[in-house]
Subunit: 246 residues, 6 copies
């Protein structure tokens, strides 16, 4: 018997997604992104200077930080202090890599954009929500920097969104929530661009293994989900046509 | 010439205060507290066990953590990692001490309540907002624990609220915002209980010194502000009369 | 024009792989694994006890540590101290996850196997070499524990090997060396089991994106490489038929 | 019944205070300050340069470090390593703030004065003893720097001393020792200048709360104690009239 | 031309040594040890329990901590925090090893003696002064523990003292001060017992090397110095004959 | 009855020593040094720049790092992380000091040579093997730097080798293995140069003490062992006569 989703969704159905812009007002961009019960505050800020390996190249950089508030989960989680967990570091690196794929780093100049993804509430899919919402915040921040004359032209050369998919009882499901995530046999995170080109794919068998056929079904589901996310993002970015230099 | 408040308030006037309960749904209590443009998410969670010095005494404990999100201020602030700043530690200790004054620790049993005060937006007064909002979250969490049968009787034996006052151009002002805070010659944080008994007073001359007379004016202002906060808290706690064991 | 491999290999050709067992004699297993110029010392040791989340379950655990010697690369690299890089943590987690997929953890009892992958010389593919060689060391260690009577039955229920593949000038290549790795547009690490079921796939576009078709070509190459590695592993494990409980 | 002081003092009476100058000879100033059984070695040293936020301003800085020797208390205390306790950080910041109030930072130039307060023996009141003794050491160090021609004019524009007061059985007592400190219901630390202007006041109710009337009694006591300390300090500073630029 | 000692001593002459007992009164033993201008506060305290490797053996342990106050030297030295320097760790281990050689650890029971050597003033020879003074403090602490009935019999089975010697312009000198220490070509620390048996010898050529003949001259000097220190120690330990179980 | 060596050696006999050069190929020098069952990979690399205290002096520096692989001993040892043990720091400092004694630091220019001594297998004598093998690696690296024209003249002005000696049942033995090391009453490490001048001597009585006569016997043994090591080193350094500037 196939898996019945606890929230009654179809296997190929996303949770409701929303982007609340200007959630706070001091940062250049702050977008509270909700994907079902997962809530991630995605902020973007700008600082002068770049990491050492880019100094003098004229290129900019984008880096990401990811954290959970202790109150984001039913059981309070200790803040990460002294050292970041491997999981947190993997996620930070993934967010950074994915969003850099949307940028012409030369158009930023020697500046660093920092994307802060602070999870206020966690119901699985926090890293993909951080990427999808982080892109909206990034666009918003770029828009602000263009208005302020800090940037002369938009560095946005792509659109990036991400989603999770997984196998439950051998069948593919899109956008797992927490209950599904812990039961999934295979867990995938997929990042794609506006042409559904793949930016990153990470798939892990939590138990057993999976076949090439299953992998292709999972990617079909991911692709469909990301198509919808790309539309939702563009709706949330008022001046998308001005910003996109693709 | 006297100081003109940038937001047009009278010298004795508070900023608007509000308590948004159930801001997130997984923690036992999560209250988004706004005091003007200062926004602090106050969450309370419960864990079994107490610090070593209380083991075997039958008493419970309350501890607090305070952090700013990097995006809470116009210039992004680095997360505190590896070590907490002296400022953060002082604030955490103050919040913990103040809220413990509202509790009969024996009525909690050997459990630890953790108050997380995460500043989403900072326009001065974050520590006093954390105390005032933390008390509302604490009452909410106690209410939940009573309903769940975890606690048999309410440990709330007092009500606690806090406010800042300061001297600007030699005159007292209530509830400073950021612009005022950086200009103040003297900066006070005052914590009081339901009878306007003083729980804690901390006053620092940023330049020069202040007289006993000035100290008394500042405390008069603080007292008036706290009277209003106490009313606002009770309005935000639906079942206050059931919880209060004073 | 297509990429010419600096070492003259065909695009689908592995580098020579070898497993030097008993490279040191004090650890239960120590296999110097060479994949071309990449050399990883894979050691396995056993300790009583398991991480907290497994205590009392009767199950065992396998964990991995990965490090580079400072002299492994042309430019000396600082040892990681105080904190591990995100890269190192990702690799450690990947090695651990992959090798656990080969084990029936209940057959280990409440013991922890630690796989140490120390890179003596790095010419790309260190993480996949660590997995492929780590599996041989694991089998060797299990064999020793069976002989010593520590284990009653072999916990090995699968065989695991890993390889990298990448796109260079749009075409797939198997088992990249360092020169190729830095030029690759897309970089994949693939872990498979004895039935070529996928345990893990991680693919990243370093520039641009890649199509579903390209992904499938890359997995075809990976599959062919892993078939050869599985044979090489079994040749290196004298008593494979006794150990394998699949 | 009122509190009987274990050492027979009147409620308004200080413990004997003394300042042993040149306790060690290599530091610019090293004053062993004894307040009853509390002994704090207050040293002052000078380094070129200032913290980042003052670079290029022409102003100097004063910072403080506070530590207890492990042997200062009946039960050996672990040295603080890896992180400072919140208590230590609060005290360091208080000492620094208080002593900076005595200085015209411009007259120091871009130099940093470091006040080290090392507690050799602890019988309560260590932070106030550190401030009172630290001021004597500061004056001594300034005197040396003037003689050496490092400074052209004395930066001392104020005199600063500190004392603790507390409520025991509802009544105020001056300069608590350890036995009193642990029993006090309310604990105050007060820092004043040569005109009895208040630099800092910190008062905490350890149990219950305190009234405005009680607060005023406590400040009356503190004021009387500090008047005596100010005299003792001036007696200990040979060339006070030359140094004081008030 | 031979080295002229800056303080006019003969080459074989010690600096004045003194032991000020009960320098502070809360620790079981606190001996301010002066060797010329070098001043080390040697304290001994006792705690229940032993390190893991001794648990259940019935044996006790002695460990040492060594630190310099920042004000101990003409240029302020940063406190060691987060990590101890190699030098400090070497010294701590040397002090511990040397003083353990004086003890029958079984007579201590499962307790740990901690020797804190805090250098108040440093004019070279701090580690040897810490050992020589630490032994006096140790005897004092043992004496107290016997009086308190904590110990039934004295664990002191040896007497331990230490001194430095060095080569300056090829000739041996005893008990170098700072000026000599930085100029010495060879630097030795020697620890001996009551029978002038060697407990530890550490000799380093700072430049060039030294011959077996020179080594023997240095040990002759060290032996003469230690003979005098052994006498001085016994004079400082009132009840030496009762304590010594040799 | 005298101690019978477990491997049948005479008391004055070294274990077989060998130097496998170019053990890995990316570092400037990598010599796998075996002394019996002790195996240390000694690598040397070069970086521009020197520590602060040498900047602008024109002199170079040599520093050493020492670590054990977790698999080097029968029981897996945790990697040192967060802090180095006192033992590791002592050994690193000893290796660095000893090898610097072989160099004219001015002939290196403002460069830093780093000697990495990674113990692959530990059967006692790891620090002396690291020094003896580190010298061979150093010569090899210098040779490479001369060929590359990085250095104009060889900075090698001495030859350095090291060995351990110890007392077992009161008698001296050369080059202890692990079984002997844990049983030795006295443990010595001796570093000498090409003229058998002593660079460093460190001797510790693990139990009891030792006499001047015993010390001299131990040094006689050490001297004989080092004479053989010096020959073995010169045989392993092809162009010794060109490199040595003694």
């Amino acid at each position: 018997m196939a898996w019945q989703r606890p929230d009654g969704r179809q296997s190929y159905q996303l949770r409701p997604i929303s982007f609340q812009q200007n959630f706070t007002r001091f940062a250049p961009a702050a977008v509270l992104t909700k994907c079902g019960d997962t809530q991630v505050l995605c902020s973007v800020s700008v600082t002068q200077g770049v990491p050492k390996f880019l100094e003098g190249t004229g290129k900019g950089w984008l880096t990401a930080e990811y954290r959970m508030l202790p109150s984001a989960t039913p059981q309070r989680q200790e803040r990460e202090f002294l050292k970041l967990s491997g999981r947190t570091q993997e996620i930070q690196r993934l967010i950074g890599r994915s969003l850099r794929a949307a940028l012409d780093l030369e158009a930023i100049g020697e500046r660093t954009l920092t994307v802060d993804a602070d999870v206020l509430q966690a119901d699985a899919g926090t890293r993909t929500t951080a990427i999808t919402g982080g892109f909206v915040a990034l666009a918003h921040a770029i828009s602000t920097l263009l208005q302020q004359g800090v940037l002369e032209r938009s560095p946005i050369i792509g659109q990036v969104a991400a989603i999770s998919v997984g196998l439950l009882q051998g069948e593919p499901f899109l956008d797992l929530n927490y209950i599904e995530d812990v039961r999934a046999e295979v867990d995938f995170n997929v990042v794609m661009n506006q042409q559904l080109g793949i930016i990153e794919v990470q798939g892990t068998a939590e138990s057993g293994s999976f076949s090439r056929t299953q992998l292709n079904s999972l990617l079909d589901f991911a692709q469909k989900g990301i198509q919808q996310l790309l539309i939702a993002q563009r709706e949330a970015i008022a001046n998308w046509n001005d910003l996109y230099q693709g």
